[in-house]
């Protein structure tokens, strides 16, 4: 039912980009501490491989826990703000505010309350992730088809039925927009959260590499961060395609576009 994704052109394109990068670095002989060539990054990656998995998993774990927590918070707040116009007026500004508290100010408080364990980091990631989910889902609720709302009301649907049977399914595409954004941010969120003190993780790895001027290692970390993030994004896109499969079913098959 779902169209097979053809990876050919993407892989080719990436290969060309990497080649261009490599060529640029060699041609202008850019210093490796400024911008290392892909080949060098790759060598470093292979070389350091043994120490990478633990860092990768540490960050991935924080990112995923934070994303899930953010998902829960994002959904709950979207629903609450949608169902209550008053609460929306009261709480929406606070949510926007929450996106504007720099770690500098948050860190001491989080550490005081939660110490140096996983919790404060997961909370930082959740704080980053919940917001796009709230905003997108809330806007999705607002776009529910007017005639279907009319039908639901005429048919005597309760507020909850109207929500679960109509508004929620029709907000799904918007929700997934927000969820994909959240997934993209979650890994960087985890990296930043590691500034709250972590023993391992890609963020720690990157900072140490940066402070000892190992730009190649910084790029290895970035590579892993980006890879993790792409993976999460892809996973959610798959979920989206599966959930919204009715949108793409048949009909389009014979179509010319």
């Amino acid at each position: 039912m779902m169209k097979r994704f053809n990876y050919g052109p993407s892989i080719l394109f990436f290969a060309v980009l990497l080649l261009l990068w490599e060529a640029a670095v060699r041609l202008w002989s850019i210093d490796p501490w400024m911008l290392p060539a892909p080949s060098r990054i790759f060598t470093t990656l292979v070389h350091e491989w043994t120490r990478i998995p633990e860092n990768l998993f540490a960050t991935a774990w924080i990112a995923i826990c934070g994303l899930l927590l953010g998902l829960a918070i994002g959904l709950v707040s979207a629903v609450v703000l949608h169902l209550s116009a008053l609460l929306k007026k009261l709480i929406y500004p606070l949510l926007i505010l929450s996106q504007n508290i720099p770690l500098i100010a948050l860190a001491p408080l989080l550490i005081l309350w939660l110490g140096f364990g996983m919790e404060p980091k997961v909370i930082v990631v959740a704080l980053v992730c919940f917001f796009p989910i709230t905003v997108s889902t809330l806007d999705g609720f607002q776009q529910t088809d007017r005639t279907l709302i009319m039908y639901m009301e005429m048919a005597g649907a309760s507020r909850l039925q109207r929500f679960f049977k109509l508004e929620w399914p029709s907000a799904l595409p918007s929700f997934f927009s927000g969820f994909k954004l959240a997934a993209t941010y979650s890994v960087m969120g985890a990296v930043i959260a590691e500034w709250l003190g972590a023993k391992d993780g890609l963020g720690v790895m990157m900072q140490l590499a940066s402070s000892s001027f190992r730009t190649d290692r910084v790029f290895v970390a970035i590579l892993l961060i980006a890879g993790l993030s792409l993976l999460l994004f892809a996973a959610i896109s798959l979920m989206e395609a599966w959930t919204l499969r009715w949108q793409t079913r048949k009909g389009g098959d014979g179509r010319e576009t």
């Binding site: 009319m150 039908y151 005429m154 048919a155 039925q161």
Partner: protein
Amino acid sequence: MAVKLEVKELTFAYDRQPIIENLSLEVKPGEFVSLIGPSGSGKSTLFYLIGGIYKPKRGEILLDGKPIHGKRGHIAYMPQQPSLFPWRTIEQNVRLAQELNGHLDPSHVQSLLKKAGLDHVAHSYPHELSGGMQQRAAFIRALASKQELLCLDEPFGALDALTRTHMQQWLLSVLETERRTVLFITHSIEEALLLSDRIYVLSRQPMRVIREISVPYPRGDRFSLRGTTDWMALHREIENLLLPK
């Protein structure tokens, strides 16, 4: 028990322009009442008022003697536009009305689908159906709902003559087995004559009752009676009522 639905001196406006003014009508239990009136007069709006999603400016709507304006969930309803949920298959769409009332009855849904000629598309999505098929789906969704008062807004407008006759006869047979009261909007005078016990002919701007007509033929005979001179005379009478003076 005298009346099922009573509309008393109802007045309503979306903005300044009054849509409905001092409209009074009633429907007895088990009765089949049709509403005929010009396009844009306010028939669908009247349904919204009965369904409780708008509040009348003045007047009352009583169901079984109790006021229901502003209250919902008392009617089985088929809207003018099919209003099927695009992410639900036809079967799931038909089930919807039952889900809302909390009594699922899958075998009933299956038999409805079959009778409407939609069993082969039960697992298709609405956009894969023709206009007439969507309309039938919306119709059986309303039938699947167990509320006694059935409000149908032009249920057969997009059907060909044959399918239409099928559906009309089926509707009548349903009414014989289930205890239902029907309020029926149609633009076809013939359809109104075929199905109804009484017909309200309505005017526009604002909508008021011009004439209330009792159809004098027994329901069972009407399909054979149509076309007779008497029948045609009644047909023409209604037609003339709708013509502007």
